[in-house]
Structure formats: C-alpha cells, structure tokens
Amino acid sequence: MTSTATGRGTFARGVHPPERKHLADQAPIEVLPTPPEVRIALLQHLGAPCEPILKPRTEVALGDVVGQAKGFVCAPVHASIAGTTGRNSVATLPNGRHVAVVPIKAAKQQPLSGQALFDDILGGEWPTDGLDQYQPQTIADAVRDAGIVGLGGAAFPTHVKLTRNPEKPIQTLLINACECEPYLTSDYALMMESPAPIITGALLAQRATGVHEVIICLEDNKLDAAERLRQAARGTTVQIRILKTKYPQGGEKQLTVAVLGKEVPTGGLPLDVGAVVLNVGTAAAVARAVVRGKPLTHRIVTVSGRGVEHPKNLLVPIGASYRTLVEYCGGLTADAARLVAGGPMMGFTIGSLEVPVTKGASGLTVLTADEVRKAEETTCLRCGRCVDVCPLNLVATKIAMASKANDMDLAQRYHITACMECGCCAYVCPAGIPLVQLIRLGKVRLPKG
C-alpha cells in the first residue's frame, strides 16, 4: 500500500532558537551513582494519581510497585532503587502541583549499579523479529504494568495509546525523535548509544496497534543518530524520516503536518488523523517492559546549560532529586540564574533543587543571567511578529490582551483553547510581553464547559 508519509518535511512558521546542543551532545551517557534517597511521586503522568500501597518502613527491591494504578488513564509507579520506604510526604513538582511522594532510603547494597545497570536497562540484545509471539493486548498490559508514560514530557500513559480503538483505526506510528528544544540531548544520546531497543519497541508498538507503517522522525541536526537508527533497523520495515530543524517540530501536531501532511483537528489527537505518536525513549521503555518484563524505573536526563559546570547526559533513577544531578555535574556556576525542568522554551522553572525527577523529565537546563529572557515589558506595537511565528496560526497578542482584559468572548473568537503554549510568540515579541503567561491566564479565566 502507498505510504502515508506524504508531508513535505516541515511545517509553516515556527522559530529558530539557538540549539546549543554542543554543550552536552558529546557527553556519553553516565549512570548516576545511587542517591541516598529517592522520592517517587504518585502522580507523574496525565490522568489519575496512583494509590500508595506500601506502609512506611517496608523493604522494597528495585522494580517493586509502590503506587497502584487507579482507572484506565493511569500508570503504576515503581521503586527505582532497593531500599526502605519512609512516610509519605508532599513534594512540589516543577509544574506547580503538590503531589504525594513515596520516599525510599537507599539500601547499602544495590543489586545493580554502574555499567551493569546500564546494560540491564538498555544494553544487550534486542530482538527485531519473532515479535508476533506477543499478542496486542499482552503488549498493552505489559506496558501498563511497567508504568510506562510518555517520556517526551507530556507523560501520557502509553498503554492507552497502544490499546486499539475500533472506532478510530490508525495507519501510522510516528516515533518522535525530534528533540526540538535547545540544550536537550537525552533522546540523541539514547539513539547514539542504544538504538536497538528503540527499534524493538517501535515494532512492538506496531504489533499492539496494528499500524501499517512505522516512521522514526528526526530533525536534520541529528543525522549521525539517524544513521545509527538505520543500521539498527536493517531488515525491518521501520522507516527513518528526516525533518527540517525548527522549533517546535517535536510537537505532535507539527509532526503530523510535516510527515503525514495532515492537520490534527483542534482539540483532537493524532488518533483523529490515523496516527499515534510515541517518544523515542518511550519506545525503548516499551521494549524493556515487554521483552524483559522490567518496569520503568530509570530515564536519561540531560543536565545542560551554561549554568552548570559539566553538562552531561545521565541515566537516573526516577525520584532522584535535582540536587543529586547537579552535584554530579560539578555544581552550578556562579552566574546560574534559572533552573528549568525541561527545555528553555516550554520547561518549568524549579525554585528548589530538592524537586524529584519524574518520568516526564527530559532534562535540567540551567540558564545564566545574561541569556535569560528579560522581564522588561513595553506596549504591544501590533507588529504581528507573533502572528508570523505561531505554528498553529493564532494571533497571540489578541488572545493575550483579551485575557488580560478578561474579555473571554474575544479570546475565544481568536481560538484561545487551540494554543499549545510552545512559546514561539513570546520568544520573538519585541515588546517583551509575556504572551504565553497571559494566554495561560486566559485559559484559567475561561468559562468551564
């Protein structure tokens, strides 16, 4: 059958922030030494929070369930180190939510650490044929039991995406390896050092969903990673598609436009255009869950930016504090000014280094004072630059000013709910207006319904 990949390889508008990936892209993945404590958040995904099932002072092994999934759109959480649980407490996540966390004090002896841990998670052989032995529902169940959520940042429970919906058949699986945010290189490092599980996971996802085509999508600033993937995918039907480097190419709506030439309806999902999108790290986690029966307990986090002494790509246990990561990277520099969980365009600032790493945390970007966006705001000149860059073709300034004036009718006429808060508008605004923040304010002010 003909390919669905008829997109022209890019999307309209968007911006080109400085990539600055050179700070960390040469850093090989290092395994973070086991921290003295981890704090597993009971809500680190989109959906319902997990239910804690362990009493304090219970001994847990690496991979034990510490939070049970409740409901369909939920994923369990597991212990990422061997140790003893403590009393549940509350932590503030980077997005501002206060969630319950299960603290685990590390046992003196860890069964796996260093290279052995890396090999257990990502190394070794990963099959690319004979995957038909797994039934689609088995795959979805294994993914659910492993607590896998989208590792690209949105943290949507993956088994929901892999469960077939008879009303909405899908033809294409897109593996998102774009990593369009500046500074971040965790997906890149995974592809360079360990491409095999990505292919296995992609094929397993294909088996689960029944799609005809699997396409791994990368930006053209990662051609060497594309080559690694091609070699790992030899003999399989997995395709590699190179896209123009532009922010935010990694957004799923921009991805379906660039690769498939189709627009996801506003308020809808890629499902509505016959596609499902998985992050490349998620694919690797799917492989581990199905083939090795192991849950999601670690992820690759890029610690980068000019505000950290030695930028690195680290394999960290979920729940480690950002302080542990920063200390391992040599600490903050004197001119560090802002800690961002994620990339500088859409990431959330954290006010304390004690925040625990969650499943959706792809990086910690430490920005210095001189590169941080200045908070000097002047009047909107209606110059229209925000209109020229919005990847969704919205008029950011009108929505922002309407939100500010609490004129929600006007904001809705300009399609405020379509905004994905990517930050392109505020990035280019010559007047320095905090457009995204005003739009967020507007969304809160919308009538419920």
Binding site: F11, V15, P17, K253, V257, E263, P265, T266, G267, G307, T333, A336, A337, R338, L339, P344, M345, M346, F348, T349, G351, S352, L353, L367, V372, R373, K374, A375, T378, T379, C380, L381, R382, C383, G384, R385, V387, D388, P391, L392, N393, L394, V395, K398, Q412, R413, H415, T417, A418, Y427, V428, C429, P430, A431, V436, Q437, L441, P447, K448, G449
Partner: protein, 356 residues
C-alpha cells in the same frame, strides 16, 4: 496576575560548598530573541529613512534639514509634555516620536513655515497618539493626523502653489510638482484652454519617468525620489521591520487601478508613472506600514494595502487634490479593526470549539 521574574527567589546554602546562586522562578519561555526590541524596530525604520532623508537634503538643502529637524524636535517635546500631563513615565527613548517627526517632516513641502511644522507635530502626537493612550493604542497614523490637520487648516501654505518658487536657487522648486502639473493639464484640456497638440508636448516631457525615479522633481521632502524610497523600503521589508504585505498590496492595487484608468482614458499617465510620482511609494513603505495602525494578520495587511492603493488612485483621479495618500491612509486606518475581525487566521486544525 502576571508578575516579573523577581516575584519568587529561593536561596539555599550548603554548609561546606560556596553560597548557592539565587534562583528565580518565572514562566516559560525562558529565552527570547533579545536583539529585536521595540527600540530596535524604530531605529531600523530610521535607518530605512536615511536614503530618503539624504535625497531630501541633496535636493532641498537647508529646507529639508530645518523642516525635518523641527518636526522631530517638536514631536519629542510634545511627547514629553503629554506623557507628563497624563502622569505616565516618559518613554522618549523608544524612538517612536522621532519616527513620527521624521515622517511628518518628510511629508511637508520645503516651503512650509515653521509654525506649520510645530502645529502639525503637536497635533500628531497630541491628537494622534496621546489622546488615544500613547504608543500602541492609537487608531490613526499620528504623522498623517498631523499632516491632515495642517493641510486642512493651512490650505494656502500647503496647497499646490506652495511648492513652487520661481525665484529660488533650487531649480527643482521652480516647476510645479508633477501631479499638480498633471491635474492642471487635465483641467486645461477639459476647459479647452489648450489644444491636444500642446498638451501632448507637455505630456511628453512630463512623462519622463527617470527624473521621477531619481528625484529631480518638485514635491514634498520625502516623496520625490522613488529610488531612495525603494532602497529604504526594501531594507525594512527584508528586516521585517515593515510587513511586506502592505506595500505589496498598495503597489498592486494602485498599479492595476491606474493602469485601468489609463486604458479607459481617465488619465493620460501610465500606471508606472502613477507609481513613481507623488508619495505613493513613500506612503506604501513608510506610512502605511506603521504597525500600530495596520492589521495583525498577513491577509489583513494585504487587504489594507490594497485599499490604500485604490484610494490613492481614486483621489488622484477624481478629487480636487493632486495627491491623497494621507487621506487614503487615514480612511483605511479607520477600517483596521474591521479588517482584523474579518481576517482572523484559521488555526491549524480548524477553529476551536467555543465555550459559553
């Protein structure tokens, strides 16, 4: 509510390690294209005006310097005065008053007395900008508000005869402006005071496009050299300090309408002549492109440009004025809110469902 980035600061100190830096919390995005600020955009417009200013000084010498300089200074003073009266902090450094003054000055004839420049500037800033709430809130192009005000109040000083001075040392000003000559020619022909043959002679010399292009003709300070305007205007479009959709719309509709009029015999001059004569190009690139008073979406901008071009040609053909860029711009400024509403871009993926 939105707060600046020093709303929350957390300081943590570790016993043995050096004191930790102060970490601030703020909303995303955390990067910005720092080079492009409002002030940069205004400076860019002034840079784009340099060729025009240079030609004005080359052709009109001291008159250009005095006129433009006076307008700029008065605009700055007026802005300072009015912002002080409104109790707001003075923001002269953003450069917008300088741009208004420069454009107003360049749209005046060389011979306008000093009090016209002053009154025009005060009205431009006061009525055109401050009365609406300052930069970013005005509906009408401030320079054109000032220009229209003095045009209507001082008809003689700014009428066609004001441009001509047969005794002047500047040779260009000894002739009428091309459009005035054109208007007079058309009127004379209609009245029968000259024959077609005589008219043809006048026409032939008047139809020379090259002097119009370079600027060796009479006119207001900024309008004479189409070449200078094009250089500066294209520079602005490439740098995105002016939206290219607007001049494209102006030139397109003016060209088509003038061409049609030419073919229909309504005007003896070709479309190209109409393009390079008068302040059409200057208006297209520097006046119509004022971001505050033009639409937000690319389609809206293009439509806005189309309207201005059409109105300029219509005014040239059918009104009593030889030139009507200021009125065309002001009329279209009034329509901008409607254009914005009519040209709301379609979001990728279709319109968002409304919540009531």
């Amino acid at each position: 509510m939105v707060e600046s980035d020093n709303s929350n600061s957390v300081e943590a100190s570790v016993a043995e390690a050096p004191p930790e830096p102060v970490l601030r919390v703020a909303p995303s995005p955390h990067l910005s294209k720092t080079a492009v600020t409002t002030r940069w955009m205004m400076s860019d417009v002034l840079l784009g005006l340099l060729p025009v200013l240079a030609m004005a000084v080359a052709i009109f010498r001291w008159y250009a310097v005095a006129q433009v300089g006076l307008c700029i200074l008065t605009c700055l003073a007026a802005e300072a005065l009015f912002t002080r009266m409104r109790g707001k902090p003075i923001t002269l450094s953003d450069g917008s008053a300088v741009v208004t003054g420069a454009i107003l000055g360049l749209s005046l004839p060389w011979s306008a007395p000093w009090h016209i420049a002053v009154i025009g500037s005060v009205v431009a800033i006061g009525l055109g900008k401050a009365a609406f709430g300052g930069l970013g809130y005005n509906i009408f192009n401030p320079a054109m508000v000032g220009r229209a005000f003095v045009m209507l109040s001082f008809a003689k000083e700014l009428g066609a005869s004001a441009y001509v001075s047969t005794q002047s040392q500047l040779t260009v000003v000894t002739q009428a402006t091309p459009l005035t000559a054109a208007k007079k020619l058309a009127a004379d022909l209609a009245a029968g005071t000259i024959t077609m043959g005589e008219a043809q002679v006048h026409l032939e010399s008047a139809r020379q496009l090259w002097p119009l292009f370079l600027g060796n003709v009479n006119g207001s300070l900024g309008e004479t050299s189409a070449l200078a305007v094009l250089i500066g205007g294209l520079y602005l479009c490439l740098r995105r300090s002016a939206s290219w959709e607007i001049p494209t719309g102006v030139i397109l509709s003016a060209f088509i309408l003038a061409g049609a009029a030419n073919l229909l015999g309504l005007t003896p001059f070709t479309a190209l002549y109409h393009l390079v004569s008068g302040s059409l190009l200057f208006g297209a690139f520097f006046i119509a492109t004022d971001p505050v008073t033009s639409p937000l979406s690319p389609r809206g901008k293009f439509t806005f440009g189309l309207g201005i071009g059409a109105l300029v040609v219509l005014l040239r053909l059918f009104s009593g004025y030889p030139e009507g860029v200021m009125f065309a711009v002001l009329l279209m400024n009034a329509v901008v809110p409607l254009l914005n509403q009519w040209t709301i871009p379609r979001p990728v993926g279709g319109p968002a469902p409304q919540r009531t």
